[in-house]
Amino acid sequence: MTQLESYWRRVSPFATTALTAAALLLLVRPARAQTGTVEGRISAATTGSPVIGAQVSVSGTNLGTRTGDDGRFILLNLPAGTHQLRITAIGYKAALLRVTVEPGATVTADAELTPSVLQLDEIVVTGTPGQARLRELGNTIESIDLSAEVKDPPASMDQLLQARATGMTVMQGTGSAGAGAQIRLRGAVSVSQSNQPIIYVDGIRVRSEGYARNAPAPGADFTGRSSNIQMSPLNDLNPADIERIEIIKGSAASTLYGTEAAAGVIQIFTRKGSRGAPRWNVQMDQGFARLPPFGTDWNPYLNFKPGDSVVLGPDNQLRTAVPAQSAGYCPELIAGWREEFRRTGTFPTPKPCDWLRQGHRQKLVGSVTGGFDAFRYFVSGSWEDYDGVLPQDNERRVVTRGNFSFDVSDDLRLDWNTAYSNYNVRNTPTGNNAQGLTLNVYRAERNYRSSSNPVVLDSLLNQSITTEVDRLITGGSVYYTPLPQFSNRFTVGLDLANQENRNLRPFGFVAQPLGVLFDEQNKYMTLTADYVGNLDFRIAGDLASTFSFGGQSITRERISTFAFGRDFPGPGNPTVSNGATFLAREQRIRDVTAGVFFQNVFKLRDRYFLTLGARFDGNSAFGQDFGIQGYPKASVSYVVSEEPWWPSAWGEVKLRAALGWAGRAPGAFDAVKTWNPAVSGGQSAFLPGNVGNPKLGPERTREIEVGFDGAFLNNRVSAEFTWYQQQTTDALFSVRQIPSVGFPASQLANVGTMRNSGIEAAINGTLFERQNWGLELGMTFYTNHSLVLDLGGAPPFAAGFGWMEEGFPIMAAKGVRIRNPDAIAAPDTACAGSCASDGQYIFGPQQPTFVWGTTATLRLPKGVTLSARGEYQGGAWIYDAAAANALQRSVRWPTCRRAHLILEGGGTQDQLTARERLECIPAQLNDDVLWFPQDFFKLRDVTLTVPVGAFVSQARGATLSLTAQNWVRWINSDLRMFDPEMTDRDSLDDQNRQISEHIPPAAVFTASLRVTF
């Protein structure tokens, strides 16, 4: 039985039920009454231009469609009678149209939409049981509309999300191929569980935690023998398939998602088909990735491009920025060049020790959308081939998608969405890997090969690190609206990913002469079953209510098998079993979360809204003495600008407040006292595993947020402000056990209390707007301040590269602060001010406390636009572990160049700065001083879009976009090297970040041609 069959057997009860129900309902429906057609054109009231992608829905039914590029729509087979059409579009106020359909006739229904930056009637679904208008929500929700976005072709979902939403930080990991980004919503709410938000795609829960790093399993070999990157499942999606993204950032909004949702929710909606003739889109991208300098001024690429340190002086003599006597950086190479220059008078080419390249990138995307009568479709495919900047880095990905909608009847609709992706990544060995390229190049002649000779270091590339992920996300929703006031949605979905990590150092590899092969197979499965019912009724007069209820079950499973072999008999391409020694491991983890919820929204005069709700969850990881967990919520919304007394000149304003709880479950085994089977010399053994805690439950995060949304100055400026405070109680801390009493190390317990608070503000405005010219500016502002309130009696402890102590930020940066770093004097490291209980200095948090984003779009004549997005992050601290590791080994680190020259020239430490004395004299090294501010600004993208439809025959339209991503950057100079967007090994799931022996993320330049037929 195949894997797919196996999973199908599990999901089939749900799917079969849904499909059977749909089929039966189809059969039992009465014969369709006589019908007619409604068609029309939706345009902007201000300019008359067509509104593309407007949603036209028939109230009280599941019928609806979207407008095309010309703003036109058509609704076929509408039952005869009078209907109300509801028309919504991003950027416009909703409109209602009343139409009367005659049998066999076509009715024209045109509408003009009034622009609205506040969009109180935009429909959202995330955080609500069914659909809700923005005006009803007491919490803030970020909605990113990509339905009409053709100017900005992001290469990955990570890049798509960067600087898109207030309160969301998307931090890139490394510059290696496949490295995923870490996403945080309003900082970190947990110190022991993942802070990655949970992700839904078309209502189906999908994996959000990173894929397993391609590295030997513990016990097989040192786990650092790897590229040390973590791939993100989010990047299996094709950005071009995305229509809309909704983001809710904390418990106040995510209560109904229950036990897993404390870190927020990202819900992604892919494109749907619309009725009409097939419409084809083709997108072709060509570009390259390039690494900006990340070293010191005189060694800008940390030995990766030593040629940059070599210049020809005015006297036509070869000069190097590296004095010969310091000889720390590719000395053999420089000596060789000098010799060759003397002999030939020209620079040698190519530079043999240049390990960085301009990585060529290309992508091809195609899609077709259309539909007829009761069936609509969107089918797409993409292929991409990206070379990284490192010599072995490459990503190849194929993504296909088919989204289908069936209007089974007026009150029954079935959506079925399926995506398959195949992702192949080849990596260069990087990170904290003693057999890797980056570590050994950085450390030059004091590396593990004892040489900076490129020939020697090139031998490290004789290894193969490849990762392949096959992923299937499939699922469907049945929408059943038996009565206009009663709607139901039932969703089932399966997210299935198979990952193979293969890591080969072949026979003859310089550091493992007999060879090593590690192969890991991972299967990840997430199964969603979800039901929601909504019942609208009028209580009295202007007071209406929507009662929602439902249940959800999420089953997640990971099956991992590891095989490891070493000591091969000879050259060749081995399998694991070719090794003289081989071993295998297996791991299976399954967890289930199931819960029910209800919610009621009270609506008074369509401007006062009160929402009350709760979710009740069980989880397989809870301790046996722990029961069902309840999460309540309440929110209010008040559209004050719709009060009769509100002067229209004041614009539109909505006030809102929300309070809610959500949780994070412990790991599958955390509650149980266990022993781990092991083998010793061929004999079975038991070793202590987990201490166990029968009272273990989820940590609970309560969030309160208050704010307003407003549109002012005749809708030219919109503003949004939110104050939030999250308090995590029963926080899961790894409480250290008493070693002399027995079981090892630590046990999770619900003991702590932590708090996050801050504000979010956004302002967007149209600076000027003419027929051919326009300038729109936007700015966002976000703060986050965390605090440990209570450790539950536990002593302060280290967590996530950080320090947990009451009164300080969550997972704080703790080390030694040099109070006189630049003084030529003895170091003054006495702690003053922010001191931890152990006497060390608390620098601050490791998550940004201040994020500022800005966007600008300049419209030029002939449809040309120039847009830019920038982001500043500040207030956080990062540890430079790459420097620490090197300095501990007396490596001649570039930041110590001045000190080395002084000391090697016969000087003494009295001539060194305080910092140099602690960093550059091995016997005095104190690596606790290597904390640095990680403030930075990056221009996330600059895009020039030019319509070129006139040059493409038979095309409805075409655009050419030129994009530069992350090329312009400013980094706090106190961080003397590298980039704050670097990380250690498990970039997505790590609680915090630290600089490891990686390269920073590269800048990407792309030319994209997009044509619609």
């Binding site: 593990y448 009565l483 249940g551 027995g742 002593p795 501990q888 490596v891």
Partner: protein, 461 residues
């Protein structure tokens, strides 16, 4: 009516979801109760052995570096590079180990003791509950032996002891900080218990191995106790009496495995050049001694390589001359041997003022190795020096040296010891007398402090 019908469907669906059973049993880790099955007992016993190996030194999550780092402190090896992974922390290189640094070793060693003693408690409780659940004498005696050696490791390594208190309900509570000799007393009890139980073990070959291992272990901890003044002359006598019953040829080894990195011999793995070359014999007294005598007990290999990183103390990278005693991933570490027993008898003789007998006992081993024998007419002080030397080479890299040096130095035992640094820097020649020893120019750590993690978590501290 339609509404009611729909509600019924919806309620049914909601009930279905609400009734979802979230109970999941994942394979892999084994619940504690499952270990009460007698078929699991052999694995419990093996677990006690494996955990002890991890405490001596492995790459496991809860593994320790006692054999490795104590060897550095006692000059049995010199640092040759790495300070992080597989390496030697700078402080330890300089001769000091702090409570923070020893936390991992403290955990690992306590875990070794806990696993073995927990097995004994489990066996006793199960046997009392149901005779069908009783373990075999072999299982009891073997796990008691591991409990004894785990306690010996704690006593010979750590500066103090913390032993848990057994509550009336059988659970454990944290104990107070006491003298490290309490571990020796506890070890002696376990070895005695093993000897009592082993009498009925079959076959004979197994019984003899268990008896010898328990008796040799008890001899060694009685020597420790006697050295620290516990039990007076009678303790010396009982140590020698136990030792005398163990034949020369007996060796009791702690196995390691080359199948799993968690079970590799860590002293070897830290210098296996993959790519770590973290320690060397360059500059130790064994460098010159082996060069001169070729005494196989302290063999090392000469390579053209350098250590894997510069060593600040030596001013650069030093020659990589790795020890040869642990030359494979699965090299075992000796826990006891008949030749160690002869040295225990010799030490008893020295304490009794009989250097000639002591030297004769030492010469048995040297004769066995075809090495020149010592003159048995030497003075008592000289005989003590010879004993210290012989224990240095006989028990080399077995996590015993630091305990020996501690008991001799602290208790003012006569005679000199060879341990020290014999080269000052990469440019220095080999000296004939040490440039540094355990007390000069700085006092090096003679024991591992109780881990900071115990100090932070035990309310009795």
């Amino acid at each position: 009516m339609a509404t009611i019908r729909s509600f019924r469907h919806v309620a049914a669906a909601a009930a279905l979801l609400a009734a979802c059973d979230t109970t999941v049993t994942n394979p892999g880790p084994v619940p504690d109760d499952d270990l009460n099955n007698p078929l699991a007992y052999n694995a419990i016993v093996t677990g006690a052995r494996l955990q002890l190996a991890r405490a001596y030194g492995s790459d496991a999550a809860f593994g320790g570096q006692i054999a490795y780092w104590s060897a550095v402190l006692a000059f049995e090896i010199n640092p040759a590079g790495s300070t992080g992974s597989f390496g030697i922390p700078t402080l330890v290189q300089a001769g000091t180990i702090t409570a923070q640094l020893s936390s991992g070793d403290w955990t690992a060693a306590n875990l070794a003791r806990f696993v073995a003693e927990d097995a004994l408690r489990r066996f006793a409780a199960n046997a009392a509950r149901d005779p069908l659940l009783a373990p075999t004498p072999r299982q009891i005696s073997e796990v008691a032996v591991w409990a004894g050696y785990a306690n010996r490791l704690l006593g010979e390594t750590f500066c103090g002891a913390v032993l848990p208190v057994t509550d009336p309900d059988g659970s454990l509570s944290p104990g107070d900080s006491t003298a490290h000799t309490d571990y020796f007393l506890r070890a002696e009890q376990h070895f005695t218990s093993a000897l009592q139980t082993a009498g009925t073990v079959t076959p004979d070959s197994v019984r003899i191995r268990i008896v010898n291992s328990a008796r040799a272990g008890r001899a060694s901890v009685r020597l420790d106790l006697a050295s620290w003044g516990v039990g007076g002359t009678a303790m010396w006598d009982s140590a020698a009496a136990d030792a005398a019953l163990v034949p020369n040829t007996f060796v009791f080894r702690l196995p390691f495995s080359d199948q799993d990195q968690n079970q590799y011999n860590y002293i070897y793995w830290a210098r296996a050049a993959t790519p770590y070359r973290a320690h060397t014999q360059w500059g130790t007294f064994h460098e010159g001694y082996y060069r001169t005598t070729r005494d196989a007990r302290v063999a090392w290999d000469s390579t053209a390589l350098l250590g894997d990183a510069a060593v600040a103390k030596f001013g650069g990278r030093v020659p990589f001359w790795p020890e040869r005693k642990h030359n494979a991933r699965n090299s075992p570490i000796n826990l006891s041997s008949g030749w160690e027993m002869r040295l225990i008898e010799a030490e008893r003789a020295l304490v009794g003022g009989d250097p000639a007998t002591a030297v004769n006992l030492m010469n048995q081993r040297r004769t066995n190795l075809a090495l020149p024998t010592y003159d048995n007419t030497v003075s008592a002080d000289s005989a003590w020096s010879l004993l210290k030397f012989e224990r240095a080479v006989e028990l080399w890299l077995e996590a015993r040296r630091l305990g020996d040096l501690r008991r001799w130095i602290v208790n003012g035992v006569p005679g000199s010891y060879p341990d020290g640094l014999y080269r000052a820097s990469i440019a220095d020649t080999l000296h004939t007398t040490p440039l540094e020893n355990m007390t000069t120019p700085v006092a090096r750590s003679l024991c591992f402090p109780i881990g900071q993690n115990e100090r932070d978590t035990n309310p009795n501290f």
